[in-house]
């Protein structure tokens, strides 16, 4: 009597296992195919994303290369890696772009900063932030022109002690009721400029 149960037991389990295994096999195979098909478009989309944000800060006139291609990896003062995208024209570096991070009111503010070979700001945009909507989010280009004011600035313009918001005796506007966010952005950009100054040679060295 008990043997009957034991006899049916392994068979049942084997069937379950094969059933689930079979389905997983089919599923995995199907997905592998789908992955093959979509891998390329997805990679393309990601590249487009990157290009889109880079092209916002990097004027198209100054380069003839694919900005996203062949980025350079450096380390900043704190030892963290920095991915640098380079604009090339005729093999010469005409501009660089990299991310800088500021410490805003509610968390990190991630910006992309593009400089020309002289260290002048070509453009900067906020990629991600957690600032208060309605207060700190005026740093987004879509909401306010404030961020455009950095264009053309460099480490010496304004002079270092005026690289701050007006409230701290600096050059740049703050928003009424929200000083922390602009202050953080100004600081981050200033930091980015200093990074450029410190690593100028590597940055501008033409790629091999």
């Amino acid at each position: 009597m008990s043997t009957a149960v034991q006899a049916s037991l392994p068979r049942g389990i084997l069937y379950q296992a094969l059933l689930l295994g079979g389905f997983t096999l089919l599923a995995a195979a199907l997905l592998a195919v789908a992955d093959r098909v979509t891998r390329e478009p997805i990679a393309l989309r990601h590249a487009e994303d990157l290009n889109a944000s880079l092209s916002q800060v990097m004027p198209s006139e100054i380069h003839d290369n694919d900005l996203a291609a062949d980025p350079l990896t450096l380390t900043d003062a704190a030892g963290a890696p920095v991915l640098v995208y380079r604009a090339l024209r005729a093999g010469q570096v005409t501009g660089v772009a990299y991310q800088v991070i500021g410490n805003g009111y509610a968390g990190e503010i991630t910006l992309i900063l593009a400089l020309d070979a002289q260290g002048q700001v070509l453009g900067t945009r906020v990629l991600a932030h957690k600032e208060t909507p309605g207060l700190g989010d005026k740093i987004e280009a879509a909401k306010n022109d404030w961020i455009l004011a950095f264009k053309g600035r460099s480490l010496g313009d304004p002079p270092a002690e005026r690289w701050g918001v007006k409230k701290d005796g600096g050059t740049f506007d703050q928003f009424s009721g929200a000083t922390i966010t602009p202050r953080a952005v100004v600081r981050a950009i200033k930091g980015g400029l200093e990074f450029f100054a410190a690593n100028q040679t590597e940055l501008l060295a033409p790629p091999r």
Binding site: Y105, A106, T132, G134, L135, S176, G177, A178, T179, I180, R183
Partner: protein, 363 residues
């Protein structure tokens, strides 16, 4: 006299009612309110009237929609008090629509959808305040320095109208509250000793001559009102004492640990809405625990949360959030913390006396 449906006793009753309690709370708030209205002038008076008025109208409308009788609920004074406390927690020169929206949120979303007085789980005034704060941070963090009514720098009646109703009024000299300013400066890495002297004297803050919402100004008058409520036995000491003691303790400990970054206890007590919360808001009976021990836990939790949010979170003042968060805990506290039932031990088992061998004879 001999009704068919018998009504059980007792057939005597203390001379008390819900509206009497609410009136006492209003009385206790009156000195601080009048003082603040005087401090902030016409715009504050307009905002106050708008907020309270909206609350009353919203209450009436909801009662009408729910087909409930208007008079008992409208006259019990709870909507008045909600509007009053909401107005006291807003920047005094906020535009009119802040008051209207706040009143609607407080009465409709936080009170009437729950079924009206006594049924709500969260403090309506604080829900409205928090909802406004996260929706309109700019309007809710714009404060003005006091300019007593009829003083030269105070806006006149017409100017007041313009400020509240957003006509082309004079440019406001806006500033942040004490807590806001200190948080900003600390965030900049300035140590406290550099910050405080210019902007803070315990005495002026206690009297109430700093920028802030109406309920943040005069700590002394609020304390007076709170003591009045205690004396009238409208509230018990447990929540205010526990709140104040915990906040003071936390502040003192952190201040001892690093005086450069953490202000002392007095700063936390007179600054911000601590006293308003401790005596008038945390004690809202509907949303606080019912047992004395539960109330102590509630107050202590409130103190810890107020301190933590003020010190480490993104907002300079944490009273409203802390109140809502502790309101959340109230049912749990009431569930787990109950008075000991007569004749039972804390676990609910009947008491047994160890020495009762002699009291109970062999069975």
């Amino acid at each position: 006299m001999y009704s068919d449906t018998p009504i059980a006793g007792p057939y005597a009753h203390e001379r008390t009612s819900v509206s009497r309690i609410m009136v006492l709370v209003v009385l206790a708030l009156l000195p601080a309110t009048l003082f603040s209205l005087w401090q902030f002038g016409w715009p504050a008076i307009f905002l106050f009237l708008i907020t309270v008025g909206t609350c009353l109208v919203a209450e009436a409308a909801c009662l009408r929609a729910a087909e409930k009788p208007l008079r008992p609920s409208l006259l019990d004074g709870s909507a008045l008090l909600t509007g009053w406390l909401l107005a006291m927690s807003l920047p005094p020169w906020a535009p009119w629509w802040i008051g209207v929206l706040g009143g609607l949120i407080a009465i409709v979303v936080a009170k009437q959808v729950f079924g009206g007085i006594g049924q709500n789980l969260f403090n309506p005034a604080m829900v409205a305040r928090v909802a406004l704060l996260i929706s309109f941070p700019a309007e809710l963090t714009r404060y003005v320095a006091p300019a007593p009514l009829f003083s030269p720098q105070a806006p006149g009646f017409g100017e007041g109208l313009a400020i509240t109703f957003g006509l082309d009024g004079p440019d406001m000299v806006t500033g942040a509250t004490l807590l806001g300013q200190v948080r900003t400066e600390l965030g900049q890495g300035h140590p406290l000793p550099d910050i405080l002297p210019g902007i803070y004297q315990p005495w002026s803050d206690a009297v109430g001559t700093l920028a802030g919402s109406m309920g943040e100004t005069s700590a002394l008058l609020l304390l007076l009102g709170g003591l009045f409520l205690l004396s009238q036995r409208v509230i018990t000491w447990h929540i205010p004492v526990a709140t104040i003691a915990t906040l003071a303790l936390a502040a003192t400990l952190m201040n001892l640990y690093d005086p450069g970054h953490y202000p002392d206890a007095l700063y936390h007590l007179v600054g911000g809405a601590t006293l308003l919360a401790a005596f008038f808001i945390a004690t809202d009976p509907v949303t606080s625990p019912i047992s004395p021990r539960g109330q102590l836990i509630f107050g202590a939790g409130l103190g810890v949360l107020i301190y933590s949010i003020r010190t480490w979170a993104a907002y300079p003042e944490g009273v409203a959030f802390a109140i809502i968060l502790m309101n959340t805990c109230t049912p749990l506290i009431d569930h787990y913390v109950r008075p000991r039932v007569y004749g039972r031990d804390r676990k609910g088992a009947p008491i047994e006396y160890a020495d009762d061998a002699d009291a109970e004879v062999t069975r």
